[in-house]
Structure formats: structure tokens, C-alpha cells
Symmetry: D2
Subunit: 342 residues, 4 copies
């Protein structure tokens, strides 16, 4: 039997706990696919899981980390109809959410949390647990999509689809936000972005933002959002859950606007007064990544617009823990990636 | 010129401030309709407005109170195509929200708040500001619909339409909640209701609730909701904004469930932790009554099912202030009505 | 190895072609379930397939017939999370359409057409290819759901969800139509049904129709539909594709109404003038049964309302061909069922 | 009283029937606005109305022609809140369809058909019957929007909203089609266009089409559409009702795709076989222009993208009949406009 290298969570509640172990390369069942993983990417969720601050039940010490990976198909079961050997693919975040409304077991079937993830040289997936990569993307780029990009797409299209001419507010320039900027721009929407750094605002404008607000310059930044929208407010806010932003986000939307809460960034016990949301007829919605159906729709947009995900830094497989540590600092713009194999 | 009796808000910030005055009966313009009002109903909003705790800008001392009224058409302008003399009608809450998504001026154009209401013997409406009453309803019954019933309908149909076999949780047995119970029952949905009174729970079951939870018996009532739904949670909660209920409401919904916030009942500075909403992929939505289009769709359901609104008590026109005081006590089941004319 | 009895299509293009053969009982893979089938039901599609008038590519001679079956789980693979031995289940029509919008391979993955069906003592399914049966249903009743009932539900909820107080027109009293009547009635909608038989109209009223139109009495039955709806027309027509009905169906809808085309009943080269549909802003939509997600939502309605499917006749397994012949006559009300095992 | 020049339909059923007459400038009522019209544009509907081939009941001889006009507000009634003197506005096609689903009286309240249109120096509108023009548009450009552009927007956003990365097929390069091309392009969708002229295809590519198909070169053009979409078909077809195109349009869509029928171009008794639509699970939908709400959403897209409508030719007010004759020839690309006043 062939051997492969795989990371496991390890037993410590720390960012330094991952263990590189050896496992046997698994065999695909009748409707399954064996993928040789080439790259993975990280999300803040991975920091929370490693530090055991993420709501998962059960012991995860021997779970393989990370939800986001891309690779190539190297073997297929007899009943596989969607893929062939050589196809370039990415795994979907929640292996059981294939289409339609969010499923009850969305979290239990999520890669790198409820079940084994992708920080491994090989992994078997049900054929329904994969999507084809857009042709113009490298494996590193493809590996950034499953969690952050699909979350951004679900925020924009999962409830009340974004329309051209609407305005989207992205908070910050991290993983999800960089995709929000790129995807909303490709959709013909106006994009406003906040950041603490003029330099990051400049980079965000280069990949699609129309306007930037430095929240150090404008601590009451919702007032600036209102000014930029002639007092009307924005149609969508994609709220990544930073400390203290939600009241400003609520104050930033138009009558009937939407706030998508996509992140557990703060994981605070911070509380908000929901009344302002009611008085503006607003919608606040928790986004749990998204389905295979949303992923495929997004890929069509990414392929047509030849969008290249924003990658901050690429680490080798052996330095996976350094990648995690880098993510935890929050200094990045876009995504941090691990190259598993060339 | 003919004279009529009309209430005005009066200048005091109190439940005893309304003034009965005499005005001239107005004349309808080309596309307008003169309505002889026969009944009006009260909402908690009216208590808040009278006590100046409702978010309205500008002086409202001479505004006519109350949003909800029904009557008969007594004169129509030349360009009126929707109504004829003798038609039985009700006014729509927000005169500018006729269909589709909520409009920016929804509050400024709301009866008895931004503009003159219906506690008057006559009122002129644009023809688009009225709907026809279902035939089986009295004027008293018809007068209960514009705010509370349309709010209930919008909660159930305005974002993700209720389907038969889904479960709805109504909090309490007041105006909006009694309509939620009746309408959700007519729609083939299962209805769970909470109350502090077994007697009120019994009455709610008589008009459509399947299950009742006495929250004095079950202070942690979301656990009871989960038990009644085999651990899954409900599809919709219609949250009327009572003190401290929101965390329980969030704990009561299924993955991807909806909480409609319909009331300013608490008007508290109470704060909640939104994280549980995110982790369950839930939706929280402020409902600002609803459009003429929603009112008409609801009326078709009310007419087909011959639903009779639950009326707690009817006061004569001269005792309008007593009606307001009665509402403020919160002892009622269903609606409190004022008969304007026989 | 255990043996089982199974029907195959056989090579003749006729209603008498099915062959009873012996196969080995298959073994479930890791995420698969072995079902002992207890009952199956027939649809007009099965007549078309047997007579090779259905659009399927490739040789189907050794395909197992029928899409609709119910049974009990007798063995589960290691990775199965949805079901346990003893669970009562039904197969979903298209094994690849799990949720959301219709998938491209909906027909290729349909039971008893693109792939083996359920007219067999045992069958292995991916766990995603099954749903749990409502508790109050027998296996015979459960076996009627996968094609006809899900088609009816998709027609009513798949595009513009039916609301209470709306009006639905069902054509005839066959399999799909009987479910349309029962489901729309449970949803609080008004139901009008057409038939050539006053006796069948009477039976339809007994299980949910409000009004019946005998199209022999009213050959121009759309006029009668308009009369019954005060000239407005109905909100939904579920059009089963009988000869010559479509122009009447178009004439029966209100401005903006929907016609769901659910059947290949006529399979005619009959042509229609689409202009009347345009001038009324109507929608005509082909319904290809429906997803697992729709099936589960429907089951909640069926379970809550304790709906019992209308069964016309039950045939023993050995008389499966007689069942097919009975269906082809079109004399039935509701569904024709085959009992596979007690 | 001030006089103004106005066209009326005239009594002849011909393209040469319009009569230039003198009327008094009307006065606005309380919630009405007097507009000095500066430009109007033509649609094929106007040819049909002039030649009495359009389904309108009643005598229209003294009706003012044309639905599409733009101008400036010169007087407002006391109750007007949306507009002020000097505002640049356009009328909405159907004065009663303000938002949400299509209204029953959509045709009776349509300008230049059911009621007086805009080929006049002045016209009074209810304030709800107007929208504000995007700042970057001239009056000539603004006058092209009410029918053709809103129809295009409704086709793309009124039922299943267009998403970036989807593919839209526009038939021809006339008024509606040119807006479909521009708007779908701005929305980040891929656009395929058909024409009989390579020169027109070239122009269409200049304003947003990705691919052109000359249907003289490819009489079976749906095969070419399939080839350009890797066999999948397009998501949306906007079908303008040319002779014989509908079967090709049906053959061009993907599983579950939409055909919006926007035009009465053919007004033929041409019939089609609807079965291919059923077997692909497709949707065919009649589009009756659109609401004020859709118009405003579209204007936001037009304003953000600074889209300039494609104008083929501008005629002076005195040569209105020549403009109508020019439209009838079908040689134009984009819109034909009449300048009413400088």
C-alpha cells in the first residue's frame, strides 16, 4: 500500500499543535474520487479550530486540518460520472450541502472540522463533494475558493441576489472581503471598502473597490458610507465580525438592506441592540459558506471574468504551521496558501 | 362646508393627550376617494406615538392618530378607477408602499404617524391608498387588518414564503400574534404559541395554534420548542419584541430559520449576542408592516378561509382614549377596536 | 450470494415486454444503503418508456422499470449517516438532483429510465438517493410519492410558491392531479378541477377540490374557470399535457399566472400559439419532477396533514404487467400500485 | 390658458394617421406633476397601435401616441414629495404598476395605448408615474428607457435574476435587444447576439456582445449557440417574437433556462410545439414591460455604468410620422427618437 503525508490537528489547543503523520493513501469507492492535493488555503476558522475556540463537538485531535484544497483526480470509482483522471478539482466546504437551502448537517459534514480536511497529499471525496476548477486558475489560486470565495458569493447571491448598480460594503481586505470586492465588481455593483490602512485601501481599489474608507480617519465610518451614497445607505454589507463593527454596519444599510454575517472573527460576547435593524426594515443573515450549486455558479463568474484570487503569501507544505501563524496576525491582504505538491 | 369630528394627537406626551376637534370634511382630488370611516383599531405603536417614544421626526401635535381604519367610499374623483361609491374599504398603513420591496419613505407616509391617520369621521385617500374589504368582515373586523394583520402576513410571506408543513412560533396572543396564528393555520402550517397564561393558550388553540408553551412553566422555553419539533427547531419565529425573548427566539429556529421582528414592544436598550444567529445560518429581519400588494394577497386568504379577526373589546368613538389605555395594559387577546360610526 | 427477483424492461417496444429475472442482491458501498422494496407505483412515463416513446438515449432492455418505490433499509455502508436498518424510505426520482435548481443530468440519473428503477425485491441507493417516509403512510402509499407527488409539489412550490387564498386549477383526477388537489387544499388554496366525469369530480371534491368543471358539459371550460374566479383567472394551472388543453389553460390564468407543464401525456406534435401567454404576462414552465429537497419539504406537509395518497388499485408483484396495462387505459383516479412484498 | 401642441392617433388604421392638434396645457392636481416633454422614443408597439393591430379595447382615435418620453418638471401639486421644479424625469410605461408583481390593469394604464401618451409638449403625471433620469443622460437618451430598456431589465431581473458568468442570448439589435446587450454586459454576463448582418453584429460587439451569430450563415443557429456554450445552452433568451425564432430559442436554452418573450413583433398566428420546453424543464415568460420599481433599479445600473442608450436616429417633433415610418422598416440599430423641444 502506498503511503502519504498528512497533517492531523494534534491534541494541543494551540496554533502549534498540527502533527505531520503518515497514512495510507485511501481507495475510492464506487462513486468516489481520489484526489492528489496540490494546494490548500487557510481561513480564520482554522485558527479558531486549532485553538479549540470553534463550536465543534467531539474529539478532533486526529482530524486532518483545513477546508480548502485543490488538486487533480488520480483515480475514480466505477460509478463516477462527473470526473475523469486528470481533472483539476477543488473540494466543497460542506460535503453534504449540494444545492438549495442550507442543510441541517452543514457543520458536521464540513472539511477540516466535522470531518477530515485537505492538508494531506491525497484524499478521497464522493464525486458530489468536488467541483471543477476554472481553467485559468493555478492550483494555489483554486485552493482559495471553497470557504472564503463561496462565502462571499453566498452573501451576495444566496438570499437577495446582487444587481448591477447596487452598492456593496466590504469590511477590510482579508480573505472573504477580497472576494466580495472582486465578485461584486465583476457583477457591475459599486463597492465600498473599509480598512485601517490607506495602503490596503489602495490595493483594494486596484482589484475592484470604488471607494475606500479608513476607519482610523473616520471612526464613525457609517456616516461616511451614508455620505458616499447620498444618504441612502448601501444595499449589502458583508460583515466579517470584527469587534464593534455591527452597529456601524446596521447604520450603513438602506431601508430594507442586508447584512451578511460571514465570520466568527471576533468570537466575542459582544452584544448589539437589534432595534435599529428593525426600524430600517433590515435583514441580518448568518452565512455558513455555501453549497456546491453556489460554488459552480461562482466558478462560472470567475471563469468568465478571469478573476485571479488575491494571494498574500504561499508557504511550502512543511511550513504549514508558519502559514497558520501568519494568518493569525491578520496582516494579510487576500489569502494565505500552502503548496502541498508541485 | 360640512363639518366632521376628528381626533388630534394633542401636545402632551401622554396616553391622555388626544383632542377631539372639528374639521371640515375634505374634498377628493381627481384620483382620490373620500371615505366615511366606520371603525378603527389600535396597535402598540399608537401607545408609543402618544407617549412620544416612537421614532418620528417633526411636530405631530395636530396629526390625526391611528393607522388602522375601515369605512365606506362616499365620493370619488374623476380619475378614480379602483373604487365606486358604496365600496367597503380599509386604508393601507404606508400610503406610498404599494408593491415590491419596502420603499425609502415607508415611515414618512405611514398613517397616524408621518401623516394624518384614521381616527376621524372622514378622510381622503389616494385610490392607491385603499384596499377592498373581504365581504364577510364587519367594519370593526376590517379595521383590525392594516397594521397587525399585514405585518403578520409580511412576516410569513414577505421574504421566504411559508409552506404547509412548516412550523411557526408566535410569541404571545396580542394583535400581530393572533393574526400569525390564524394565517399560519390557514396556510397549513403548524403553529406553536407562547404565553404566560394557560387560559390564553387555550384561546389561541381555539383559533389555530397546535401547541402552547406557558413561559412561566418553561422559563427556558426554547428548549420546549426544540422538544416539540424533535430537536429541529421551527422555520419561522414572529418576534414581537418583548423583553428578553430574542435569545430564546434565536435558540428556537432550525438551521437557516427566520426570525421576523415585528414590534417595538420593548423599545428597550436591551442587547443581544448575534453569534448564535450566525452559527445556525439564521435570518433576522425587521418587518415594517407591508405593502398594498401584500394586503391584497392576505385579503384573498382571509376571504377564502372566512377568517374572523380576534377582537378583544370595542370602544365607542367618544371613548377612544380609554381604548388606548386598555391597549397599554397588555391584557388583551387579539385586537382593540374603536367604533367610529354605526 | 442471495438471489432476488427483478423485472427488466425486455427488448420489445410494448406494454407486455417486462421480463421477470433473477439477479444477485447487491451489496451497499461505504455511503450506500440496501433497501428491501415493498411497493412500487406507476406513472404514465412508464407506459411511454415501455412503448419506447420516451426520450431516453441508449439501450434500456435490461434496465429495471419504474421510478417510484418504497421499502425498508436492511443494510447500510460504513459512511452512512442519514439512515439506519429498519428505516422506512422511498427513492428519489432523479438520484442526482438533491436540492436547488434542476441539474443538467436530471434525466440521465432518473430511476427506471436512465438507470435501474425499483421494480425489484432489493436495490442499493446512495444515502442521498432516499428520503424517510412519513410515519402514517403504508409502503403502498409511500410508493406513490416520488414522481407524481413531488411533481405536484414542484409545480406548486418550485418557482412561485403557492399562497393560501390563491386558486389552483388541476386538469383531471389522475396521479399528479390528485396530489395537486390534496396538496393545494392542505395549503389553504382554492382548487378547481376538470374532468369528463361528474362521478370523478365528486370524488375529487371529497379529497380537496372546491369546484369541478365537466369539460364535456363545458367544452370551452376556460370560460367557466373565469366565471368561477370573477373574471380574474387562476393563479396556477397544473397542465398534464392532455390533447388540446393548453390553449384553454392559457386562457384560464390571471395576469402574471403560471402554467406548470408536468406531463408528457399527449406526446403529440400538437402546436400552440404562444401569443396569448405573452399578452397576459404569463409563465409556462416545464416541471421535471423535483429534488430531494422538494421531496422532504412535501413530506413535512403530508405528515402534518396526515394526507393519504389516493390509490386506485393495488396489483401483486407477479401481475406488474397487468398494472401497467391498467394505467394505460386512463380510467383510474389517483395512483396504481404494485405490492412487491408484504 | 396656455396652449400646447399634441399629437393624437387619428382615426385611420395606418402609419400616417397621427394628427397634430392644439390642446390646453393641463394643471397638476395635489399629488401631480406637470412635465414639459423634451423627447420621445418609439417602439414596435407604436407601429402596431397605429395600424390597429394591438390588443386595445375601445376607441383610441384621440389618444396621444407613444409611451416613452422624458422632460423636465415645470409645476408640482401641493402634495408632491418626490419631485421639484427643474427635475429631469421620464414617465413609466404603465402608470399603475409601481412595484412587485404585474398588476391586472397593466395594459389599461399604459401610456400611448390605454391612456394618453407622451407625444405632446406637456403632460400631467401622478408623481408615482415618473422616475428621475440618470444625470449623464440627455433627454433624447432618457426618452428611450420607459418601454424598451425596462422590458430588457424585467426580462433579466424580473423572475430569476441574472448573475455574472451566466449567458444571455439577444435576438437582433433593435430597441429591446440593444438594451439587453448593454445591461447584461454591465451585469458581468456573457452575451451572444443574432443578426442577419455582420455589420450589425460588429456594432453589437462594440456595445457589449461577446459573440455574434449571423442567422443567414447559420440558419440552424441554436446549434451554433450550443457550440458556443460547450453544449450546455444559455441561461436566458430574450425573444423578441420574430417569425419562426421560438423553436430555435427553446433549443438554445440550458436545462431549466428561461425564455423571456418581450415582443409582439411577429403578431403571427405562428404556432409552436411546447414539448421541447417541457423536456428541458424550461421557462417561457411573457414580459409586459415593468414596474416603477424595476425602472428605478435599472436606472441605478445605467447611472453607475454610465450606459448611453444606442440611438439610431433623431427626428424633429414635426416629423414624428416619418420617425414611425422609419421604425417600421426595421433597419435600425437601437432606438429611434423624436426631439419634442430643445
Amino acid at each position: 500500500m502506498t503511503k502519504m503525508k498528512t497533517y492531523e490537528m494534534g491534541s494541543a489547543s494551540s496554533l502549534d499543535s498540527w502533527q505531520l503523520v503518515t497514512r495510507e493513501v485511501p481507495k475510492p469507492g464506487p462513486s468516489q474520487v481520489l484526489v492528489r492535493l496540490r494546494a490548500a488555503s487557510l481561513n480564520f476558522r482554522d485558527v479558531l479550530i486549532a485553538s479549540r475556540r470553534y463550536p465543534i463537538s467531539g474529539n478532533i485531535d486526529s482530524i486532518v486540518p483545513l477546508s480548502d484544497g485543490a488538486g487533480e483526480v488520480v483515480e475514480v470509482g466505477d460509478a463516477v460520472t462527473y470526473f475523469a483522471v486528470g481533472d483539476r478539482v477543488a473540494g466543497i466546504f460542506s460535503q453534504s450541502w449540494l444545492g438549495g437551502g442550507v442543510v441541517d448537517d452543514v457543520m458536521q459534514s464540513a472539511l477540516g472540522g466535522g470531518i477530515d480536511g485537505v492538508l494531506s497529499e491525497y484524499r478521497v471525496f464522493d464525486q458530489t463533494g468536488l467541483v471543477r476548477l476554472p481553467d485559468h486558475l493555478s492550483f494555489e489560486e483554486g485552493a482559495t475558493l471553497p470557504c472564503a470565495a463561496v462565502t462571499a458569493w453566498n452573501a451576495l447571491y444566496g438570499l437577495k441576489p446582487l444587481q448591477p448598480g447596487q452598492t456593496v460594503l466590504a469590511l477590510g481586505t482579508g480573505g472573504v472581503s477580497s472576494f466580495v470586492i472582486q465578485l461584486a465588481h465583476a457583477a457591475g455593483a459599486r463597492v465600498i471598502v473599509t480598512s485601517s490602512s490607506d495602503e490596503k485601501l489602495g490595493r483594494a481599489k486596484a482589484f475592484g473597490a470604488d471607494d475606500g474608507i479608513n476607519y482610523r480617519t473616520y471612526p464613525e465610518w457609517s456616516a461616511e458610507v451614508k455620505r458616499l451614497t447620498d444618504g441612502r445607505g448601501v444595499d449589502h454589507v458583508v460583515e466579517i465580525g470584527g469587534t464593534g463593527t455591527l452597529p456601524h454596519s446596521i447604520a450603513s444599510i438602506r431601508t430594507g438592506g442586508i447584512i451578511s454575517m460571514v465570520g466568527l472573527l471576533a468570537v466575542s460576547s459582544e452584544k448589539i441592540n437589534p432595534m435599529p435593524l428593525l426600524t430600517i426594515g433590515g435583514i441580518m443573515r448568518g452565512v455558513l459558506v455555501g453549497s456546491r450549486e453556489l460554488f459552480e455558479a461562482m466558478n462560472r463568474a470567475i471563469a468568465y471574468h478571469k478573476i485571479h484570487p488575491i494571494i498574500d503569501q504561499v508557504f511550502p507544505f512543511e511550513e504549514a504551521k508558519q502559514a497558520l501563524a501568519a494568518l493569525a496576525t491578520g496582516q494579510h491582504v487576500g489569502k494565505i496558501v500552502i503548496r502541498i505538491a508541485d
